[in-house]
């Protein structure tokens, strides 16, 4: 059945063809093509515009939204991290300052204590020195006091040795004065 019209088309076509006519200008085929084309186009347009293209654009929009969201998230996280980094840096600086202050304080306390101790020590030393000096003074005075007695004794002994008789205490005292 399909071959019969095929044949008829060929035979009716042949003379036209020889005269150089385009097959496209056989107007008996125009009506069917136009009607079918409009029908096909309408169906294709309906299916594409109502079903398929919204799905395609939906996917593209979802992707765009996802990318934008992800970038916004990343930016937010970066900002957060920066804030945290700044806070951490500030904390470190504060801790360092505190540590330096503590160290300085400790040093000051220690040096103050050392100075006090030194002063105390010096006072004690000075006292000991004074006491020692006083003792020396006393010892010297005592020694000096003994010198007279030693001298008188020595003189008495010398006089006795030389004269053979002991000198009196008064005589010795008078000669030593």
């Amino acid at each position: 059945m399909a071959t019969e019209p095929h044949g008829t088309v060929e035979t009716t076509e042949a003379p036209k063809h020889e005269s150089g006519g385009l097959p496209q200008l056989q107007f008996e085929h125009w009506g069917g093509q136009i009607v079918w084309l409009l029908l096909i186009f309408a169906v294709l347009f309906a299916v594409l515009s109502k079903v398929l293209l919204p799905r395609v654009s939906g996917a593209i929009e979802t992707r765009g939204a996802k990318i934008a969201g992800d970038i916004a998230d990343a930016r937010r996280l970066k900002d957060e991290a920066e804030v945290q980094a700044r806070a951490a840096a500030a904390e470190v600086a504060e801790a360092r300052a505190k540590a330096q202050k503590t160290a300085a304080d400790a040093k000051a306390v220690a040096s103050a204590a050392a100075a006090e101790r030194q002063a105390k020590e010096e006072v004690a030393l000075a006292e000991k020195l004074a006491a020692a000096e006083a003792r020396i003074q006393i010892a010297r005075d005592e020694a000096m006091g003994h010198v007279r007695a030693v001298a008188s004794e020595t003189a008495g002994a010398i006089v006795q040795k030389l004269t053979g008789k002991a000198a009196t205490a008064a005589e010795l005292k008078a000669s030593l004065a």
């Binding site: 399909a2 063809h17 085929h29 069917g32 186009f41 515009s49 398929l52 996917a59 979802t62 992707r63």
Partner: protein, 264 residues
Amino acid sequence: MATPIDPMHQFLIKKIVELPTVTVPGLGALDLSITNSIAAMLLAATLIMVFYGFASAKAAVIPGRLQTVGELLYGLVDGLTSSIIGHDGKKYLPFVFTLFAFVLFCNLQGMLFGWTGNFLGFTATSQLAVTLTLGMLVILTVIAVGFAKNGLKFFKLFAPSGVPWPLYFLLVPIEIISFLIRPVTLALRLFGNMLGGHVVLKIFATFVSILLAMAPAYWLVGVLSLTSVVALTALEFMVAFLQAFVFAVLTCVYLNDVVHLDSH
């Protein structure tokens, strides 16, 4: 076996399924039988729907290969409508896209399945009836959009402002003619490109078989002919895409004329 050079044979309309003839009052008999041209158009539309059915089935955030190609074509037309028509372009995207996809698939079908020798490889866009219908479809849509958006101000399209009034006697008829000729140029451009390319391909390809059947002395010419067939086939694929693109671009341009009539 002699091969007749008959490059027009590929454009012959052949009936595939006989359907009853409908008599339309005022127009006469209308043969609705499915011919190879109609079958090719049906196939193109089906392929588009199947392709986009699969391409948009998952609608994944990370697209697969099919989805990437589908979105590429969509993005191409989307870029056209938004760059030519502007912000309102999205509204006309389905229409322009349908035109683009239909013309592209019809063009490519003839290139890809031509070897089958039946309706699968029939190039429906090489039929003047088809391209003229598409052209009329575009211009009627443009007129409909023009009236819907501007009402009777639509006629300002033919009378650009900022012109000394005596010039209107010359300008208005030119504008009207250039507007009315748009569907014809749309139709003839597509028709001519597909027809011409296919005819040239056919002639060169026929040369190859004729020359190779002759004495060995002619074989060199046959090889040259074969080389040009290969090159022309590549060119023809480009033309197939380019003409669909041009059709979509011009549709956008014509739509833009009536959408932004005020800025004329």
